[in-house]
């Protein structure tokens, strides 16, 4: 087994055992740190001990018992849900339009959509903070949703545009030549076939909003502080195992989203 060729150039598995070890170590480096947080969240003590001397759910009780954390959780999830709706719709429409357009204009519009990904987040953050200050949008749900939608829409455009690449536009043309209006043809012929990329895009938008830190630090506050803003401040000032409990819940949540996305796109590969 070990002496069979692993590559086209007849390197054997034994000869590149080091590569497998290195690869394994890197994968452990990527995945393990976050997972270590899980046992810590069930620790009985406020001090760092691994494995924990005794187990309890006191940090979960602390989290669910705190009005501030509950409020922040509500703000984060509400903002993420609305952001998902806004950016998925705007991003899908734009991706569809860009897919059907040709030439220079399409390239320029596409580049504009990508700008929020290239411009450093800190710069977007202070710009928005200044802008919101004029309109009274700082520390409001509207402000948070607009900010998060700006960050999520480019990801939706990228994801849906790459999905449209493998879709044959002629199908929509056929529907239209048979009398369907363009919106109707899009909704009944095109959209069902790009369903998977659109779902992936929506999940990405959700997680982008839920995880957004830099801009939220500036524009979210008071009763509308997001979970990330409270976590950031807690991590900077005093580390409390409540963070471990929240982190565990967030890990479970992101694994569920990732699994949902993998399951949704799995049948396609077969």
């Amino acid at each position: 087994m070990l002496d069979r060729a692993a590559t086209e150039t007849q390197i054997t598995h034994r000869q590149r055992l080091w590569l497998y070890v290195l690869g394994g170590a890197i994968l452990v480096f990527l995945a393990l740190p976050s997972l270590l947080v899980i046992p810590l969240s069930f620790s009985d003590t406020r001090f760092l001990q691994f494995p924990p001397p005794a187990y309890s759910t006191r940090w979960y009780e602390a989290y669910f018992g705190s009005r501030e954390w509950r409020q922040a959780t509500w703000v984060s999830f509400a903002a993420a849900i609305v952001t998902t709706g806004v950016s998925t719709i705007l991003g899908t429409l734009a991706a569809y339009a860009l897919h059907s357009m040709y030439g220079r204009a399409a390239r320029i519009i596409y580049a504009c959509f990508m700008l929020p990904l290239i411009v450093p987040a800190i710069l977007v953050a202070i710009g928005m903070f200044l802008f919101y200050a004029q309109l009274g949008l700082n520390n409001t749900m509207t402000g948070i949703v607009l900010a998060h939608s700006v960050m999520a829409t480019p990801l939706v455009v990228i994801t849906v545009a790459s999905g449209l690449k493998s879709y044959d536009m002629n199908q929509e043309m056929v529907a239209r030549s048979l009398g369907a209006s363009r919106p109707w043809a899009f909704l009944t012929v095109t959209l069902p076939q790009i369903k998977l990329p659109v779902i992936t895009a929506a999940l990405l938008a959700f997680i982008t909003s839920l995880d957004e830190v830099t801009i939220s630090l500036f524009v979210a506050g008071g009763d509308y502080a997001t979970m990330t803003k409270r976590m950031f401040n807690a991590l900077r000032d005093e580390i409390d195992p409540t963070i471990a409990a929240i982190s565990t819940l967030l890990i479970v949540f992101s694994v569920a989203l990732l699994a949902a996305n993998q399951l949704a796109s799995a049948p396609r590969r077969r």
Binding site: I126, G127, A161
Partner: protein, 294 residues
Amino acid sequence: MTAATSPAPNEAALRAAGRRESLTLGALAAPGLALIGIVALAPIAWLFWLSVRKGDAYTLEHYVRLLHPNYMLSLQTTFELSVLVTVICVLLGYPLAYLIAQARERTASILLLFVLFPVWTSLLVRCYAWLVLLQRRGLINTWLTDIGLIDAPLRLVHNFTGTTIGMVHIMLPFMVLPLYATMRAIPRDYLRAAANLGATPSQAFRDVYVPLSMPGLAAGIIIVFILCLGFYVTPALLGGGRVMMWSMQIERHVTYHADWGAASALGVVLLAMALAIFWAVGRVIGFDRILGGR
């Protein structure tokens, strides 16, 4: 349409229909563009303007102030950290992407999950995990002391080391994913052909595989480097105030001093650096490859 020698009777109508079509499509992209333009880009343009204003006059004062050694040190830290993190990401990311690209479909998709899992995990959760692992009485120091390898705890976090480790952890997937996409598309026959023509395995790898994987590598490098240049959260948490990144200077000027002139000038310089690097590399390898879009 343009091939016709004499104007066809329906040419005007066709052109009008074409124009209507582009208008409709433009209208579909407009709401998203308006959102990004008004909420993100217009305020940044305003920052540009603020960076050259003092009172009612135009001035370059805010930029001249950036020549102060404090800012220069910060610029140096930012570049050192970004280069170091990018280099480590290449060293770790290339072998990993290579391994995943060579694996069978099913194995590859499982290995990719390990790379995607951190991406989907909250940034703050990952920073917290590193704080737990690296701090003075954190897991790594405790373990090393317990097995007798060290007497006094190592300083692993709230400094340059901890920031580097945390940043590499965050950036590595952004290196692996574009590399993997490029490597997966390299036809294996090329390597077989190289071997047939008498190349040793290392020659085939060096002269055939590496050059073909270059676009992915360049895309990974550019993404990681630009993200590092403007990164705020991880250096702020893991650097413990000892790693003064350019982005942290910006935050400081806004929150503590409400000095918008200086903050704007700092921001403009950061944006100019990011765009210059993006543009330069984009010219060489193509912008589409970096963003993976159209």
